[in-house]
């Protein structure tokens, strides 16, 4: 019984939140890694692209709610997601046209593109705050829980409760669908293959007649879809707040680099590595250990390795360790 309680407490406070957070990071990191692999620069504007997509989703959700449209027990935001993706696609294509293409035709060095992307980041950041304001926006509706703590306790009779939020379930399901679609696209379609070819060896790809502008456009479209999905899922699960997406940049980049920049599988693995490290290192293990250990060994302190204030420091440390000892990441990406 104690063992079951320990497992349930661990799932409730560590496993489930970390899986949801990991999925959100993985989707974000996939976008970063695609841009790095194909356009060959680190896109600092990615966090704010997510914020922009989520902002459109918030707006469309409010509009749908106003019209009385709902999605039953699921959040209305899922209906708004396609519109948000379209809007974000338009934004990134315009940005590419106006900004990045200029530097691409000049064959500018990656470091210049990084700086350029920072400029884009500040502009997008301002744009989002200008349109929707800096405040919290709650746009989740429908059923809040797949299973709530009270229901779980009644069902099992355990002392510890387990809650699975609808948004956490949706996050995982949507992330799986998105990843499956992405891999199918990259591995099975002509355009996907041409993107991989372009990423592997630009000159050879050009020689074999691949149209670079087309590859770039498709990359941006996919990145916009991924970023918007990640942004909307994060906003649904937590809360929509423009500045938070900017702060997400660090864990997202850490995920992409840990997995190996340019490697889609690496981005997913990296997302979960970062999420689980952040959550487990800042979790206070007292409760779980109390159930698992004999009474004499019960800890009196909280058994917390790092205070939750240092959550971002965890991704930072992992990032540095990976860059020092395995610069290509877990899945042999490009070295930074």
């Amino acid at each position: 019984m104690d063992f079951l309680n320990a497992i349930v407490a661990l799932s409730n406070f560590v496993l489930i939140p970390a899986i949801a957070y990991g999925s959100q990071l993985a989707l974000g990191a996939l976008g970063v890694t695609l841009i790095y692999g194909i356009l060959r620069f680190s896109n600092f504007a990615h966090g704010d692209t997510m914020a922009f997509g989520a902002m459109i989703a918030v707006g469309v959700t409010y509009l749908l709610q106003y019209w009385g449209v709902s999605f039953g027990p699921l959040p209305t935001a899922l209906l708004a997601l396609p519109f948000a993706i379209l809007g974000t696609m338009a934004l990134v294509l315009i940005t590419d046209r106006v900004v990045y293409r200029f530097y691409r035709t000049q064959k500018a060095k990656p470091v210049i593109l990084v700086i350029v992307s920072m400029g884009v980041m500040f502009i997008m950041n301002g744009l989002v705050r200008f349109i929707i304001g800096p405040n919290d926006r709650k746009f989740a509706d429908g059923e809040r829980f797949i299973i709530s703590v009270r229901e779980f306790k009644q069902m099992t009779g355990l002392r510890e409760g387990l809650a699975i939020k609808t948004t956490q379930g949706i996050t995982v399901v949507v992330a799986v669908i998105a990843v499956v679609l992405l891999f199918w696209f990259l591995n099975r379609t002509r355009t996907g293959k041409s993107m991989r070819a372009y990423s592997d060896n630009e000159d050879l790809a050009l020689l074999s007649g691949i149209n670079p502008e087309r590859v770039v456009m498709y990359t941006w479209l996919i990145v916009a879809a991924l970023a918007t999905t990640a942004g909307v899922l994060y906003g649904l699960d937590k809360t929509f707040k423009p500045f938070v997406y900017f702060q997400l940049l660090l864990p997202i980049f850490a995920s992409a680099i840990v997995g190996g920049l340019g490697s889609p599988i690496g981005a997913i693995a990296g997302g979960f590595v970062i999420a689980f490290s952040e959550v487990t290192i800042t979790y206070a293990w007292k409760k779980v250990l109390k159930y698992m250990l004999p009474e004499q060994l019960e800890p009196s302190g909280l058994v917390q390795l790092l205070s939750t204030d240092y959550k971002f420091a965890v991704s930072f440390v992992i990032l540095i360790v990976v860059l020092l000892f395995k610069p290509t990441g877990l899945f042999k990406g490009k070295s930074v």
């Binding site: 409730n12 406070f13 709530s148 703590v149 009270r150 809650a163 206070a284 293990w285 909280l302 939750t308």
Partner: protein, 394 residues
């Protein structure tokens, strides 16, 4: 020569008293920032007092009083200092009602009020650390120190039968000071504090913070935060994970935002905020509500009283010069004298003009102790049927 000097000094005083002027008072509150939903009503409270005095026409021979608002931001000391500096140098205010949050209040006091010799009465800065700030007798507050709120909240918890509690506080002067005083008082009363940890405002997700507190356990979670910032995030995460379902909420957490966000989800949770039975703030609250602001938040009566104290002290001193009237504030706030309730400012002005004494009670039973801070009565609230209801006064 000596006689001449004295005569001219007396003359100057008389001239100041006799000629009616338009006195400006600064109202420096966090109109933007973590308590922005509370401050419009607080400012309205202060401005109601000024309007009352202006209308009576009895202050210093018919002087009128007008408010100049400035933004303290609640958290940004540099911005608050600049705003207060502007009030004094460019607007020429004769007294400051504010600031609101403890951190910026300390900064404005040390950097602006003391160097400029300006009187400052805060309606809501409650950090115990401000009791010991060096203020040259210029700083007062109509809100009691949190050391007192800690004791009151601890007593409520013990009486309600809570044996152990976890504390989370917003990571600033207010939160830390309050959390420390609650912890000390609760332990002294025999309770157990399982954990006390900070949360940062402005995050999207507080599940990690709540997970740590849940691991420590406890009957109730004390949230010493802000109702427009991280506080509701902590409560939401605690409810979602089933970590806590009862909450103890000090003053910064009491606001209509609480009712609209949680409704009956936090049924039975308790809270404390400054308030007293001996005084009736309804005159002020009604007048504030009539201006169109939300008058359900805390510190509206305190703001009225802070502004009223400044103006009555001017009357008692016969001058709007801060150096002259600062010494009178303690006198008019405390006995002996005729008790003055909220809405009776013209009566008080009359008594003072005739050389009499008053004991200002106002909207919040003002009684200044410890060199200028309110002794403090508290209102205990409980969430019933999703609404904030008053349980009793302490």
């Amino acid at each position: 020569m000596k006689k001449l000097l004295m005569a001219s000094a007396a003359g100057a005083l008389l001239a100041g008293a006799a000629s009616a002027e338009d006195i400006k008072l600064g109202v420096i509150l966090g109109f933007t920032g973590p308590i922005e939903s509370l401050t419009p009503a607080m400012a309205a409270g202060a401005e109601i007092a000024m309007e009352e005095v202006s209308k009576s026409g009895k202050l210093l021979g018919g002087s009128t009083v007008s408010a100049v608002r400035a933004d303290s931001t609640c958290v940004d000391s540099a911005a608050a200092t600049a705003a207060a500096e502007r009030l004094i140098t460019s607007d020429g205010v004769k007294g400051i009602m504010g600031a609101d949050c403890s951190g910026v209040t300390g900064a404005v006091l040390a950097n602006v009020a003391v160097p400029n010799g300006m009187v400052m009465i805060s309606p809501s800065a409650t950090s115990p650390a401000l009791s010991d700030a060096s203020d040259n007798g210029l700083f007062f507050r109509t809100a009691p120190s949190d050391a007192r709120q800690g004791q009151v909240l601890a007593n409520v918890l013990i009486e309600k039968g809570f044996q152990s509690a976890a504390i989370t506080y917003t990571n600033n002067d207010y939160g830390k000071g309050l959390a420390d005083s609650i912890e000390a008082a609760f332990k002294a009363a025999g309770g157990e504090v399982t954990a006390s940890s900070a949360h940062e405002d402005g995050k999207a997700d507080y599940s990690a913070e709540v997970a740590a507190l849940a691991s420590a356990g406890g009957d109730i979670l004390i949230v010493a935060g802000y109702v427009d910032q991280g506080g509701p995030g902590m409560i939401r995460a605690a409810l979602d994970t089933g970590a806590f379902d009862m909450f103890a909420l000090p003053d910064g957490m009491i606001g209509t935002g609480l009712e609209t966000t949680f409704g009956d989800e936090i049924e039975g949770s308790i809270g404390t905020l400054p308030g007293s039975e001996a005084a009736d703030p309804s005159v002020v609250l009604e007048a504030a509500a009539a201006t169109g602001v939300d008058a359900s938040g805390p510190y509206i009566g305190e703001s009225y009283d802070a502004a009223a104290l400044i103006m009555l002290a001017m009357q008692a001193a016969g001058s709007s010069d801060p150096a002259a009237y600062s010494a009178k504030i303690q006198d008019i706030a405390n006995a002996p004298g005729e008790p003055i309730a909220a809405g009776e400012l013209d009566k008080a002005l009359e008594i003072l003009a005739a050389g009499g004494e008053i004991d200002y009670v106002g909207a919040t039973a003002v009684e200044l102790i410890n060199g200028g801070e309110a002794a403090g009565g508290y209102r205990e609230i409980v969430i019933e049927g999703g609404k904030i209801t008053t349980a009793q006064y302490r």
